[in-house]
């Protein structure tokens, strides 16, 4: 058991029959108390299967899972850990027969198909593409993939905030104060959202928004369902309620009186998932539904000097100046200021190495944070740290599979085996060069280019490969016969696949891997990473196949074509992050600041990169959606102004800096370069705030 203070013990040992609301800033031991409360309930004889841990996202539940897996925890049932989406999906699966007709699904005698983010994007693209050709969204300068995801995002907002999806366009239009041209864009958004919803209903497809809506509108109010759910769980622990959406709070509000005990945990300064519908003020209103209230104020995480720095930050955000400290406390803030961006990264790597080597800080206790995590940044840092033998892991969940060279190699060969799958001239000589480099062991760039230049042919824009045997003898010699033999085997394999009956793409990829690429002489031989990436692609193709139903009347060939086309456009095949991958142990973590904040894991040392960038606090450019306007707090008739925008940026800045400080134990390094990676001068507000507060902290000491 961790060392607990009196206040924590008081929360842990509250009698049954009470609903408690526990609030405080990050790092004050709220989750520790909630975890201990869970164990206390079990010790007190509460059957574990009657306890529900309710969280906004599964990663938040990690401390609970870990506590429950230790051998010391008593025998009994299993505690259930659920998110809103898990609860909705589980309930829909179980009670589907009750809603299939009521919710007007098109296939009354069929089970539902739950869409993944990528399959939802695919169907959205399928419906929207013909409209783009008709001039929809003509004035928006946005990659189509972002366009699809923003329309989906709007549907999700409607479901999570709890308004009909048919009001999306109207709400956005009403709040718009810019040029009138944008208004027709919102009409286009509405048309597409309606089309998508109608398509899903017709084919029993449930994207995230429809899952939530079906659960809220039909299942939760159903007496049989409600009785089943409420009798199953008698005790509730809901953590990070401020990161959850209003409909989740509505459910909790209605459910709370039924529980034999409840503990709600609210983090001050949270609400980082605003893009996913998080609504701290709606969460805070749950306090009224609880009869016992606790506030934790003392941090278990930050040292005295960091707490001091936190106070000067608060002052920089407008709070009264803090009292002078009783002893001299130099802020544990270390600036790493350089003229150019690469120099700054080099300094960061040096300091990381010093922390590990000289101070003995474990790599897992170091986190490098940036407003955005680009591939370039990830690669540069990985390289710099690798030179110093420091492992690095990254939190960047949405990375398209296509970005991996090994995957592009598999896709290139699929395009050669099924040349009609992609539009003419999609495949280029350099694609083949890259694929050959991956596929054939012992091939260098010069030979790969030479080989590709000779064998890559196009007939009516469709790619084919010619035989090695047709190459002149002296050139064969330059390429080498060994490479030639391997190439020839590969070519014949593709030729066979091309002339055989078409097969499911996932089978094609597995066979290509199995029969050829993982064999001696080929590039994937005994390379686990290649195996894993292929498995990820296979899994993505499988999920894609499973999303189709008979009612759609789509042939296998057509489906394969669609898949290849969509992967090629970067629309689908997001990296498959398996749960265990997220927790790679002894490595320095590099992550976008928001992602790190949500993981709720304090560390000894933080590095903030690029503090001159405005990306730390500015809203993403999202011309088709607006999380604040579509929130529950937004008043009908209000108009979104530049002042609102500035206010949001200021709130974000405050939330993010204070949130990060609260999750740091020892020291923060500030990485700044006068010129950004793109060569622009940077003087964002974060820099100003940090300068002000540091000056203040030094003045007061």
């Amino acid at each position: 058991m961790p060392a607990l203070n009196r206040q924590q013990l008081e929360v842990i040992q509250r009698p049954l029959g009470e609903r408690c609301f526990l609030e405080g800033k990050a790092g004050c031991g709220k989750t520790t108390a909630a975890v201990e409360r869970l164990l206390y309930l079990m010790q007190a004889g509460v059957p574990a299967h009657q306890i529900l841990i309710y969280v906004p996202q599964r990663t938040v539940a990690q401390p609970y899972r870990q506590a429950l897996s230790v051998p010391g925890v008593m025998a009994g049932g299993a505690v259930t850990i659920l998110t809103l989406s898990g609860l909705a999906r589980r309930t829909i699966e179980t009670f589907w027969p009750l809603v299939v007709e009521q919710a007007a699904f098109g296939q009354a005698d069929e089970w539902p198909v739950f869409l993944t983010l990528e399959t939802a994007q695919y169907f959205m693209a399928k419906l929207v593409q013909p409209l783009l050709a008709q001039g929809y969204f003509a004035s928006v300068n946005l990659h189509p993939n972002r366009l699809y995801s923003q329309i989906l995002d709007n549907l999700n907002k409607a479901a999570l905030v709890g308004f009909p999806h048919t009001e999306i366009g109207e709400r956005l239009k009403e709040a718009w104060s810019g040029s009138p041209g944008q208004l027709s864009i919102y009409d286009d958004v509405q048309t597409c959202a309606n089309l998508f919803r109608a398509f899903c209903l017709e084919h029993n497809l449930l994207d995230f928004s429809l899952q939530v809506e079906i659960f809220i509108r039909y299942l939760w109010p159903d007496p049989l369902v409600r009785q089943h759910i409420q009798s199953q769980y008698r005790h509730l622990i809901a953590d990070n309620v401020e990161e959850d959406a209003p409909v989740s709070h509505d459910i909790l509000r209605q459910w709370l009186p039924q529980f034999d005990s409840a503990l709600l945990v609210y983090d001050h300064g949270g609400g980082y998932r605003v893009f996913l519908g998080a609504d701290p003020s709606s969460a805070y209103s749950l306090k009224q539904a609880c009869e016992v209230h606790f506030t934790f104020e003392t941090s278990f995480v930050t040292n005295a000097a960091l707490q001091r720095f936190e106070q000067s930050l608060l002052w920089a955000f407008g709070a009264p100046p803090p009292a002078p400290p009783p002893q001299t406390l130099h802020p544990p803030i270390q600036p790493l200021f350089e003229r150019f961006y690469p120099q700054m990264l080099e300094r960061v790597a040096e300091e990381v190495a010093q922390c590990i080597e000289e101070e003995g800080i474990p790599p897992s206790q170091i986190v490098i944070l940036a407003p955005y995590l680009t591939d370039a940044l990830r690669f540069t840092l990985a390289d710099l740290l690798e030179k110093r033998q420091i492992p690095l892991r990254s939190h960047r969940p949405s990375r398209a599979l296509r970005e991996e060279a090994e995957i592009r190699c598999l896709l290139t060969f699929a395009a050669l085996a099924y040349p009609e799958a992609l539009p003419p001239n999609t495949l280029q000589e350099f694609d083949l060069i890259a694929a050959l480099l991956q596929a054939i062991d012992g091939l260098d760039l010069a030979r790969a280019s030479l080989l590709a230049r000779i064998v890559f042919r196009k007939t009516d824009g469709l790619p084919t490969l010619s035989s090695f045997e047709q190459i002149q003898a002296d050139v064969q010699e330059r390429i080498t016969y060994r490479v030639g033999e391997r190439y020839e085997r590969l070519r014949r394999w593709l030729e066979d696949a091309r002339s055989a009956e078409p097969e499911e793409l996932e089978i094609f990829f597995v066979r290509l891997f199995d029969e050829l690429l993982s064999q001696p002489g080929y590039g994937f031989y005994r390379k686990e990473r290649c195996g894993e990436l292929t498995a990820n692609l296979v899994e993505s193709a499988r999920k894609f196949r499973q999303a189709f139903r008979e009612s759609m009347n789509i042939s296998m060939e057509e489906r394969n074509r669609e898949y290849l086309r969509m992967v090629n456009e970067g629309l689908i095949a997001a990296q498959y992050l398996r749960s265990w991958q997220a927790e790679d142990e002894e490595a320095v973590l590099i992550s976008p600041a928001y992602t790190y904040l949500l993981s709720n894991r304090p560390v000894e040392v933080q590095f903030w990169l690029d503090i001159g960038s405005s990306g730390w606090y500015e809203r993403l450019f999202q011309p088709l959606t607006q999380p604040y306007v579509l929130s529950r707090r937004w008043q009908k008739g209000q108009v979104w102004t530049a002042d609102d925008e500035a206010q949001v940026a200021a709130d974000n800045l405050r939330r993010i800096t204070l949130g990060l400080v609260a999750r740091c134990r020892q020291r923060i390094y500030l990485g700044y370069s006068e010129y950004s990676a793109a060569g622009y001068e940077q003087r964002g507000d974060l820099l100003r705030v940090l300068q002000d507060s540091l000056e203040m902290a030094v003045r007061r000491t």
């Binding site: 004889g45 059957p47 574990a48 299967h49 990690q62 899972r65 870990q66 429950l68 897996s69 230790v70 051998p71 010391g72 925890v73 008593m74 025998a75 009994g76 049932g77 299993a78 659920l82 898990g86 999906r89 589980r90 699966e93 179980t94 009670f95 589907w96 027969p97 009750l98 299939v100 009354a108 005698d109 069929e110 089970w111 049989l224 089943h228 499911e504 996932e506 089978i507 990829f509 597995v510 066979r511 891997f513 199995d514 993982s518 686990e528 195996g531 894993e532 292929t534 498995a535 990820n536 296979v538 398996r578 265990w580 991958q581 927790e583």
Partner: protein, 282 residues
């Protein structure tokens, strides 16, 4: 010592994996290696069987929760003739055993967990019944085409772990009162052989033997070093193992006799999803 994820809990699937092939256990649970599994026509056959088995477990769950048959039936009918046949058998079983095997308080899809030595064990039961006379039945739905022999069934880790855990953790369902081994029986019910279920009666002696077995087994796993997780010498286990190409093992199709005799064990060499029926997380 072996490094498992901090929240790792041993289940019948992982233990059976270790017994079938220590290497597979290592690759799957320690290394978390994802590998493109063998393709070919059988892959779809397995996938289809897996999804039917999942549907059947799902139906049994829905039935236990009281969803009306007439609402479920059209969905089953449309899905597949085989599933519909299983469903009809289930309905008959339900009707006939309403007061006997199924009589009492029902806990469908319930998970129990308990510590043992340095680890935790977990079992997810298809259906647990607390009979009014104090007896307990563990019902496990099986959809294998062949009915495994009694010997094969008794040798499954599941047949030891499930009754053992009910005795260890059942007090939480029994108003704090311990469940005695003699009160427990386990019934394997076969959708394809509904007239031939297998009932295993539990006893104090068996409970003790199972505890020793599970303790020894898990200690052995934890005590091994990476290099000690050897590949199985029985290449038949590799036939449908997802790591077959990784291990560079040839495809040795099991003979029909083996299929019949070891249907259950063969199922356990299927892809992970298959083994996790009833252990699927949200």
């Amino acid at each position: 010592m072996l490094k498992l994820p901090p929240d790792f809990i041993f289940s019948q699937a992982s233990l059976q994996d270790f017994l079938t092939c220590p290497r597979r256990f290592y690759l799957r649970y320690v290394r978390h290696l994802v590998w493109p599994s063998a393709g070919g026509g059988e892959a779809f056959e397995w996938e289809w069987r897996l999804s039917l088995a999942q549907d059947f477990h799902h139906l049994a769950h829905q039935k236990a929760l009281g969803l009306p048959d007439q609402l479920l039936e059209p969905l089953v009918q449309k899905r597949s003739a085989e599933l519909f046949q299983w469903w009809r058998q289930l309905r008959e079983f339900w009707q006939a055993e309403q007061e006997a095997t199924l009589g009492g308080r029902r806990y469908p899809e319930l998970t129990l967990t308990a510590p043992l030595g340095k680890i935790r064990l977990l079992a997810k039961y298809d259906l647990l019944i607390a009979h009014p006379d104090g007896q307990w039945s563990i019902i496990d739905w099986k959809t294998a085409q062949q009915r495994p022999s009694t010997r094969a069934l008794h040798s499954l880790v599941q047949s030891r772990l499930y009754p053992y855990l009910l005795v260890r953790a059942g007090a939480s369902l029994n108003a704090g009162k311990a469940v005695e081994p003699e009160q427990v029986s386990m019934v394997y019910w076969f959708a394809n052989h509904p007239d031939n279920p297998e009932t295993i009666l539990y006893s104090q002696a068996q409970f003790q033997a199972d505890e020793d077995f599970l303790l020894r087994l898990t200690e052995e796993i934890l005590g091994r070093r990476e290099a000690d997780f050897e590949q199985t010498s029985d290449e038949r286990a590799c036939a449908y193992c997802p790591y077959r190409t990784y291990c560079e093992r040839a495809f040795v199709p099991p003979s029909s006799y083996e299929v019949e005799e070891n249907a259950e064990l063969l199922e356990l060499s299927l892809p992970q999803d298959w083994e996790q029926i009833g252990e699927i997380e949200y």
